[in-house]
């Protein structure tokens, strides 16, 4: 197996296919108190993230939208990962996730260990053109938390 095929299998792990085929928390939330839209103009990916935050804790999270397998699986796994977590922990998780995708020195380091299932996205680092696919949902989540009005962009 050449290097690129190994990298490809690291990128497209079974858990990513699973969440792409059957995204979790994939529905609008009628009683959401936070939501934001995200858009990647380069590829047309679009999603909306919904949150219910009680006492600075994310008690519920969902999303709708369309995108590639990486983007859809990332949004799905994100909603699972943040439910029940305090908002400051969620933001810290975003920073750790982003570092894992973009910072070579973060590879196999302590931050990745804290990411749990989100570590399946470590393979994205080998595909710089796809980092935006994996982070769109997180940028949108951040905007939903801070109440930004403009759609989140990865550009």
């Amino acid at each position: 197996m050449s290097g690129i095929d190994g990298n490809l299998r690291e990128l497209y792990q079974e858990v990513i296919f699973d969440h792409n085929r059957q995204p979790r928390n994939f529905h609008p939330m009628t009683d959401a108190d936070h939501h934001a839209d995200g858009h990647n103009p380069l590829c047309g990916d679009q999603l909306t993230v919904y949150l219910r935050i009680v006492a600075d804790t994310v008690v519920d999270a969902s999303f709708v939208g369309h995108g590639c397998a990486i983007s859809t699986a990332s949004a799905s796994l994100m909603t699972e990962a943040i439910k029940g977590r305090p908002v400051d922990e969620v933001e810290a998780l975003f920073h750790a996730f982003h570092a894992m995708l973009t910072d070579a020195s973060a590879a196999d380091g302590a931050p990745a260990a804290a990411l749990g299932k989100l570590a399946v996205f470590a393979g994205v680092r080998e595909f710089p053109a796809r980092v935006k696919c994996a982070t769109l949902a997180w940028h949108t989540l951040h905007n939903a938390i801070i109440g930004a009005q403009a759609p989140a962009r990865t550009e």
Binding site: S2, G3, I4, D5, N7, L8, L11, Y12, F17, L42, C43, G44, D45, Q46, H66, G67, C68, A69, I70, F127, A129, R130, C133
Partner: protein, 424 residues
Amino acid sequence: MNAATEDLSARAPAATSLGRTHDFPILARPVHGRRLVYLDNGATTQKPEAVIEAERRFYRESNANIHRGVHWLSQHATDLYEAARRTVQHFINAAHAEEVVFTRGTTEAINLVAHSWGRSALRAGDEILLTTLEHHSNIVPWQLLCEQTGALIKVVPVSDTGELDLDAFDTLLNERTRLLAITHVSNALGTINPVAMLAAKAHAVGATVLVDGAQAVAHHKVDVQALGCDFYAFSGHKLYGPTGIGALWGRAELLAAMPPWQGGGDMIRTVSFARSTYADAPQRFEAGTPNIAGSVALAAAIDYVSAIGIERIAAHEHALLAHASAALAAIPGVRLIGTAADKAGILSFMVEHIHPHDLGTILDSEGVAIRAGHHCAMPLMTRFGIPGTARASLGVYNDAADIAALVNAIHKAQDLFGTRSTTP
């Protein structure tokens, strides 16, 4: 390679290869340890050695600024620049070399017309007729112009096959139509528009006609006089030439009446602080030092294409398009977007359950370079209800082996996603 692919390769006519691969140094470099299969010619073509050498030779032997020096080298560079203009003139069969304005490319050529012709010719309530097939570069300049003038944009819709709705065209065209701005070949779908017929109809109501030829010039013979249009815009880099050089052709009487759009050196006759007077076309529209080396290399690209024969290239790409369309249609789960009867070498397609971006990454892992996305034609993608497509676009060096590699790479993507059908 599966049996179906082998059969199609075996049946491919000889015309599906022109044997030009070795003219292009970049095609010898591997990507991810595999043979580069370059099928992104709609974005930009690769450059033959003749073009690379022409640009290098200009800087080594001929470089000076043009139209100003009395020294020998300046005259030499000027001669090369003006010779390049005549090469473009003959390539598109323009009546006069002075009708050819060098630009950075198609986008700048269209913006030139929008700024210069558009601002002086259009009034509030005038209509600009576009089509759903247009690239953003033939939409946004007109939207900016409409904001400034109060003119309105009307849009000719397309059918499910990606062909213009000609009945709607007839309905939308009226005495308020001042401009028809239309692509010759759709960059996203490959549809070839019946430009000569539409230009005649537009002229009958007194409209001016601009044709976006970015995707056309490298793929079939363009004769601006036979087309009967008023402006024709194209880029060098989609014609095996360098980036940053292209041309606008405009009818002499239109260019003569148009005001400058950028001010600076080279475009003036006299300058005083009270008033300046301007040079005639084409210099009036070429402010500042132009891309001299680029123009020389563009001429080399045109010479390269002409030496093979643009008709031969057209026949080759047509045969390869037919072969590739059949090969893709034979893969279960693959759907072609854009199936016009008259098409240039562009294949836009969707693979069931695989997003174009995922497909692009997996194809790249096999050395197969395609474009994935909206192709700067968002209104067209919206028309088809899709976020984007995968697009393979053909060039002079592509052959049946490239299509076999594309098919195999699609199979690899389907295997990886677990969506490959075992029943054809």
